[in-house]
């Protein structure tokens, strides 16, 4: 049900794409946590999740050295039985350091946030220049943020035009469009923003939940709304777009629940790093910890997996 007070542009868009049954979504995702995934299926899921991780460091204190060690971790997360992660995700200024550390042709891609991440509050030409610079430095993928100010003001045309401009600026690089769901406030808004992005991005691009810089990040609920938008768009147009939940996914258990959501909403075709990613920094260590637990049968300590912890 669309509130009568919502902007006319939103009402028109939602008339076309349909609204979200919020209670239904919450109820459905609550069921995902009840699936029993054990033994071989669990190991398969954990290894799949490792291969979908965008190993991320987005801090003011990032250094070339820290990015280099992140890249080492991306190339060899644990031992030979564990696959490489999908990508490393860094700030634009760190892309060339990541490229030097990773080399090329080894399957780990470089993603760079751009467009004045995380606020997006910079002039469009500055944001586009940042995208071009990141791609020129060697980024394979660009994570952009949408203009939430324009979205909430009802200026949908501007939001969509800016995404289209970034698509052009990306060239061959894949694009991930960050909706920053915590600032969109309702499931209807998330669905509307998803469609604004879906209608201008290409096959192989992604939509992404959050920057990870706000209090509320990826949840099964907003992941579900976005997966259903991708499904509806795919059924309409045949264009398959990927999905990336980011922020707040710290445990292997959560990751498996997100994979259940993907399998039950979009099917096996989306259970691949080309179409589903996890944006996370600490998730990888917990995945490795659980894989090791499955291998040895003994619960593992987090500090065996390069976790920065005190002696506890």
């Amino acid at each position: 049900m669309v509130a009568p007070s919502s902007p006319p542009a939103l009402r028109r868009l939602l008339d076309a794409i349909g609204t979200v049954d919020a209670v239904g979504v919450e109820e459905r995702v609550a069921k995902y946590a009840t699936r029993s995934i054990k033994k071989a299926a669990k190991v398969w899921g954990l290894r799949k999740a490792v291969s979908m991780v965008d190993l991320t460091t987005l801090e003011g204190k990032d250094t070339p050295g820290k990015v280099a060690s992140l890249c080492q971790k991306a190339l060899r997360p644990h031992d030979d039985s564990v696959p490489r992660v999908a990508a490393v995700c860094v700030y634009p200024s760190m892309v060339r350091h990541a490229r030097r550390a990773l080399g090329s042709g080894n399957g780990v891609r470089i993603a760079s946030v751009a467009t004045a991440f995380p606020s997006g509050q910079a002039p469009l030409r500055t944001r586009l220049a940042e995208v071009r610079a990141a791609v020129a430095d060697g980024a394979d993928e660009v994570d952009m943020v949408i203009n939430r100010g324009a979205f909430l003001a009802g200026d949908f045309g501007r939001v969509q035009d800016e995404i289209a401009a970034v698509v052009t600026a990306c060239g061959a690089a894949a694009l991930k469009v960050i909706l920053e769901v915590s600032e969109l406030e309702t499931y209807d808004n998330i669905r509307a923003a998803s469609f604004l992005a879906l209608r201008v991005i290409r096959e192989g691009d992604f939509i992404k939940t959050s920057t990870g810089k706000t209090s509320l990040n990826a949840t099964l609920g907003n992941n579900q709304v976005m997966l259903e938008a991708i499904r509806d768009h795919y059924l309409d147009t045949g264009i398959a777009v990927g999905m990336k939940p980011a922020g707040g996914i710290r445990t292997a258990k959560q990751a498996l629940q997100f994979l259940v959501a993907v399998k039950e909403t979009l099917g096996d075709a989306w259970l691949t790093p080309a179409r589903y990613r996890f944006g996370a920094s600490s998730l990888l260590n917990d995945l490795l910890r659980q894989l090791e637990k499955e291998r040895t049968g003994a619960y593992q300590a987090p500090y065996y997996f390069s976790e920065a912890a005190e002696s506890y």
């Binding site: 003994a298 619960y299 593992q300 065996y304 002696s311 506890y312």
Partner: protein, 288 residues
């Protein structure tokens, strides 16, 4: 009008909250006359895993407290035991102890907490050292807590045994995951209620009720537990040692031969604190 009695649902104290087992299982406990008393949660290895996570989370904050403050809090726990003395004695009597023996056990338990509370800001002076070296260095040894320690309490004395094993471990800044007496788990249920009102931060002491045979293998192999303090029989000792060797953890078996030995003065010692300390030696150059 007749009144329906309000019976308490026994729940162990983990991570600062009173929990049910994640499995939903319980087992019945019977009083000395054989009558049904209550259903107590039968904790599983997953509950143990969750308790270790809670203990690890609480650890750094607890270890950073001043020794004096840890002593205050342990003393406060002694106060709580003393204040609920009659209830504890009544509980032990219900499960078969004589009133005299029960009173003695509860008093000794409170005294033991005060004993270790007193050591909190003193063991360092005894166990640490300034070492003589033949070079211009100031060389000293200080102690540090180990981390999360597993405790397996004796069946009897259920209350005193549990407190005697937990107190020397936490006084130095370790945190504990303890398995209560299988025969008399209700003692740990009541102790949890005292922990919750004793200023002890949530997660420092985590109590599990359940079956030893089910939980000993996980205590032995869980790599996040740095040490084990257990009052167990020969077969369980072997299982614990094998698992501890695999995960490289320190194991200490509590010695008292009989339930009465737990009451003795020599069942408490600063050396019990030493069992779960790491020693760090530092060389500091001395100016010419």
């Amino acid at each position: 009008m007749s009144r329906l009695p309000i019976t308490k649902t026994p729940k162990p104290y983990v991570g600062g909250a009173f929990i049910r087992s994640e499995s939903g299982r319980t087992f019945p406990v019977r009083d000395a006359s054989g009558a049904f008393y209550a259903n107590v949660p039968q904790c599983t290895r997953k509950d143990l895993r969750n308790a270790v996570e809670a203990a690890a989370k609480a650890g750094p904050g607890w270890a950073r407290r001043t020794a004096y403050n840890r002593g205050q809090i342990l003393y406060r726990l002694g106060e709580m035991v003393e204040a609920r003395r009659d209830e504890l004695v009544g509980m032990l009597v219900r499960f078969g102890e004589s009133r005299t023996a029960a009173a003695r056990e509860v008093e000794t338990a409170a005294d033991r907490l005060v004993y270790y509370a007193g050591w909190a800001d003193k063991y360092e002076q005894v166990l640490g050292n300034v070492n003589p070296v033949a070079s211009p260095h100031f060389n000293f040894t200080v102690t540090e807590p180990m981390g999360v320690v597993g405790v397996i309490a004796p069946d009897v004395p259920a209350l005193l045994g549990l407190i005697s094993l937990v107190a020397p471990v936490i006084v130095s800044g370790n945190t504990v995951v303890a398995l209560a007496s299988e025969r008399l788990p209700y003692a740990a249920i009541l102790l949890g209620e005292m922990l919750a009102t004793s200023d002890l931060p949530g997660g420092v002491v985590n109590l599990l009720t359940g079956f030893r045979a089910e939980l000993v293998p996980t205590f032995a192999t869980h790599a996040h537990l740095r040490g084990l303090s257990a009052a167990v029989g020969a077969a369980e000792r072997k299982a614990l040692q094998l698992g501890a060797a695999e995960s490289v953890k320190r194991v200490h078996f509590a010695a008292p031969e009989s339930p009465a030995a737990w009451l003795a003065d020599d069942a408490q010692s600063a050396y019990a604190i030493r069992e779960f300390l790491e020693f760090k030696t530092t060389w500091h150059p001395v100016g010419a």
